[in-house]
């Protein structure tokens, strides 16, 4: 999840508790299953590489373990959860003996682990072979919560249950490495965000999804339309009348009861604490009343933090002197709060415009947040000021000001906006109910809005994607369309699947159609899912072969969202499928079955039909099939080529091509059936029986668990057998 440019620096002390030593806790796993823990919350993201613990030993505890875990949340806050993120084994016999030998003991974490700022982790100390006379003792404070963002804890049953202790903290120091501070070095983190079950989850640490606690049950993902977009280190959420922000980049300051003062800071103002030098760039303030605490969100640009009673000063856009006294220490995110326009005096809140009453479509284009989908004004789209998602004042006349618009020829009411599809900062496609429109450039500064297509609309807000060449694909009135931008959309499914729309019978009120570009397999995944049941019908459109390949997944794996996660760790850099059962999945070439929620598997029913084939090369004549040799992938003698599993082969013959089609689809009463033994070519697979008919069809398939197959070729021998009577 983390990427650091340049060489890593030597170890730096990050979090620690080293004040007020009162007593010691001890480990003795082998006898009583006693384990010790200490949670901590990094203020700065870094790679944890070593830990110092304040220890002494009794006897010879032998090999001991220090593990690092993510912290659970809610009622289980400060308790370890999930997989071990980093581990170290050390010789407990090297620790100083008895209380007189107590000292800091350094433990290296060989692989280390990247830690996210503001996320809680848990150190767990154990002595697996220790007992009552051979154990480690870890010093801790019982006085006044010496380390505020973590707790000491213990387990008496080998970690099955944990008991964090309020105000108690083990003595620890954790060290890490981070990138040099040279301006040329970039230091950033990337995390996945997923929404379902009426809440938002985010990745923390890498590979683990956790809920953003305040988001639980504060959005409606079941009965209301919802859309999200990443911008400015945040995720903006529109959920009809609910509009929220998950803020991962800012810190939060709260003023004292005197409030914001006479000079209100503006978005982008720099505020400084004269006493400590701490600085913050103001992002957003909440609406306020006189003489009441106000919340300020912003990006701290110094390592020095803000504390309660700090006086922060600056100058606002009107050159007025800002002076604010803080009522609390700064708080670290992520935060969850209402999305509204920039704070102003409550009740007089018009300075920064007004968000639409409802919205369900959102995107980022040219630094502007764009929203649409207000049922009161379905034709309307709204774009916030560039670089300021808090300003929707459309009466300003500068080039960056907010814009409200619609898509139509002059004098006509615009078509209802269904999807917003930005392509870089160059184009924005407005997918509408019955038309497609293209905005080139900026709507305030030289941009041009024109019709992309007036003969088709788009199905839904996620029924589109781009490929790596910038081609735009969308599900429209007749199936799958493709176009360049600008360009002329062409229905590319019409020839191969002329009844696609009728066959799928997708209804926007019940079905979701989602498109995604699979970088790895160079194809477009099209998923049509009944949201209520997960029943699904899907297509993989190969950009390499320009063919459609129908697919089906278990109902619980019906796809309700698709996202290519450009994770910095390639283990997670995949096309992700958000499924109907609440799990995130991906196509796994090593997996031969589909994996369900409980980790059980269900075999994939796969088949392909060949034909109808003219046996005698002349439809006036019957033919005689004299040989059929299926050759499956893989060498016969082991070797480097991966081997196919067996397939079921069925042969159908008939006098008309349509009869063959019916038989192939019905998959009943074949003229011949046999299991083809893999891999490669085998004499036992050769069909030598003579079968007469005008047309033949061959069906290969597999429905067996833990099996997968691929084909090299089919060889067929046929001969003319006489005129059909």
């Amino acid at each position: 999840m983390f990427c650091y440019g340049g060489e890593l620096m030597a170890n730096i002390l990050y979090e620690s508790c080293t004040t007020v030593l009162n007593t010691y806790g001890f480990t003795q796993d082998a006898v009583d299953n006693y384990l010790l823990s200490q949670s901590f919350t990094p203020v700065v993201a870094h790679k944890l590489v070593s830990v110092d613990l304040y220890l002494y030993r009794t006897g010879t505890p032998g090999n001991c373990l220090l593990n690092v875990y993510a912290s659970d949340s809610g009622a289980d806050d400060d308790k370890p959860t999930g997989p071990v993120l980093a581990t170290a084994t050390f010789d407990g016999d090297d620790v100083g003996e008895d209380v007189g030998g107590v000292d800091w003991f350094s433990i290296e974490l060989a692989a280390g682990v990247n830690l996210t700022a503001g996320t809680k982790y848990v150190l767990v100390l154990s002595a697996p072979t220790g007992d009552n006379t051979n154990k480690l003792h870890w010093g801790y404070s019982t006085t006044a919560d010496q380390y505020a963002t973590g707790k000491r804890g213990f387990s008496t049953n080998a970690g099955v249950t944990w008991f964090p202790q309020n105000t108690h903290d083990h003595w620890f120091k954790e060290y890490g490495s981070t990138a040099p501070s040279a301006s040329s070095q970039l230091n950033y983190s990337k995390a996945l965000v997923a929404i379902g079950g009426n809440c938002l989850y985010h990745e923390s640490p890498e590979g683990t999804m956790i809920p953003l606690a305040d988001s639980v049950d504060s959005i409606d993902t079941i009965n209301s339309m919802i859309d999200i977009v990443e911008a400015y280190e945040k995720v903006f959420i529109v959920n009809e009348s609910i509009k929220k922000i998950a803020d991962f980049g800012n810190i939060k300051l709260t003023t004292n009861a005197s409030g914001i003062g006479a000079a209100v800071p503006n978005h982008g103002n720099l505020l400084t604490c004269a006493a400590t030098g701490a600085k913050i760039v103001v992002d957003y303030i909440t609406s306020f009343v006189d003489d009441a605490a106000v919340t300020i969100y912003g990006k701290r640009t110094t390592s020095t933090q803000f504390s309660s009673a700090d006086v922060i000063v600056g100058t606002n856009d009107a050159d007025a002197a800002i002076s604010i006294t803080l009522g609390d220490d700064e708080a670290a995110g992520p935060f969850w709060y209402d999305w509204n326009v920039y704070g102003d005096l409550a009740g007089v809140d018009t300075t920064y415009g007004k968000l639409p009453d409802e919205a369900s479509i959102i995107c980022l284009y040219r630094g502007r947040i764009a929203v649409a989908g207000d049922p009161g004004y379905p034709n309307q789209w709204y774009m916030f000021r560039q670089s300021n998602p808090w300003d929707l004042v459309v009466t300003s006349t500068d080039a960056q000001a907010a814009v409200i618009g619609q898509n139509s020829d002059a004098g006509k009411l615009g078509d209802a906006v269904v999807a917003l599809a930005p392509y870089k900062d160059d184009y924005l496609v407005f997918g509408c109910a019955n038309s497609m429109w293209l905005l080139a450039g900026d709507p305030r500064s030289g941009g041009e809005l024109s019709e992309l297509d007036l003969t088709t609309g788009i199905y839904g807000k996620k029924s589109w994607c781009f490929d790596s060449f910038g081609n735009f694909y969308f599900w429209g009135n007749n199936g799958l369309y493709k176009t360049t931008l600008p360009g002329y959309p062409m229905c590319i499914s019409q020839q191969a699947l002329p009844k696609l729309i009728a066959d799928e019978a997708a209804d926007p009120s019940t079905h979701r159609i989602t498109l995604g570009f699979d970088h790895e397999r160079n194809g477009i995944l099209i998923c049509i899912t009944v949201l209520a049941t997960g029943k699904n019908s899907n297509y993989f459109y190969s950009l390499t072969t320009e063919g459609f390949f129908p697919e089906s997944y278990p109902d619980t794996c019906g796809v309700s969202s698709i996202f290519f996660y450009a994770a910095t760790n390639t283990a997670y850099k995949k096309l992700l499928l958000g499924n109907n059962d609440g799990y995130l999945r991906y196509f796994d070439d090593a997996q031969k079955d589909d994996v369900l929620a409980d980790d059980s598997t269900i075999p994939i029913e796969s088949h392909v039909s060949f034909g109808p084939l003219l046996i005698a090369n002349d439809p006036k004549y019957e033919g005689k099939l004299t040989g059929l040799i299926p050759i499956l992938a893989g060498g016969c003698g082991g070797g480097g080529e991966a081997d196919s599993n067996n397939v079921e082969c069925k042969l159908f013959v008939a006098d008309s091509a349509d009869s063959i089609l019916e038989k192939l689809v019905a998959n009943t009463a074949p003229n011949f059936a046999r299991t083809i033994i893999a891999p490669g070519r085998s004499r036992t697979n050769i069909l030598r029986r003579k079968i007469r008919g005008v047309y033949a069809g061959i069906r290969l398939g597999n429905t067996t668990a833990a099996q997968s197959w691929s084909l090299d070729q089919l060889l067929i021998d046929g001969a003319k057998a006489g005129r059909l009577k």
Binding site: H46, S189, K190, L192, A194, I195, G196, G197, C199, H202, T208, P211, I226, E230, E233, I237, F248, G249, Q495, P498, S542, T544, T545, G547, F548, F549, P550, Y553, T556, S561, F563, K574, N579, N580, D581, G582, Y583, L584, R585, Q591, V595, A597, D599, T601, S606, V608, P612, A633, D643, S656, D658, L664, I698, S710, L711, Q713, L714, L715, I716, G718
Partner: protein
Amino acid sequence: MKLSFPVKGIHKGVAASSQPEMTSPDMLNVRPYDVLERKVRGGQRGGISKLYARQIGEVASPIVAICSVTVVS
């Protein structure tokens, strides 16, 4: 007669007697690239696996939106 996998996918748009080359009138859960060697020779699609152990929302409810967020440290 030598037949290769119909790598041009499903095709239902012409008379059955004129089925275009390299297409199939009926197929399911197969792709042109096989999962064994990633060769264009056709085969069963890969399985769908869970990438993250945790169920979003702790309930069997659709994941309706996904994105990533990048934060400068």
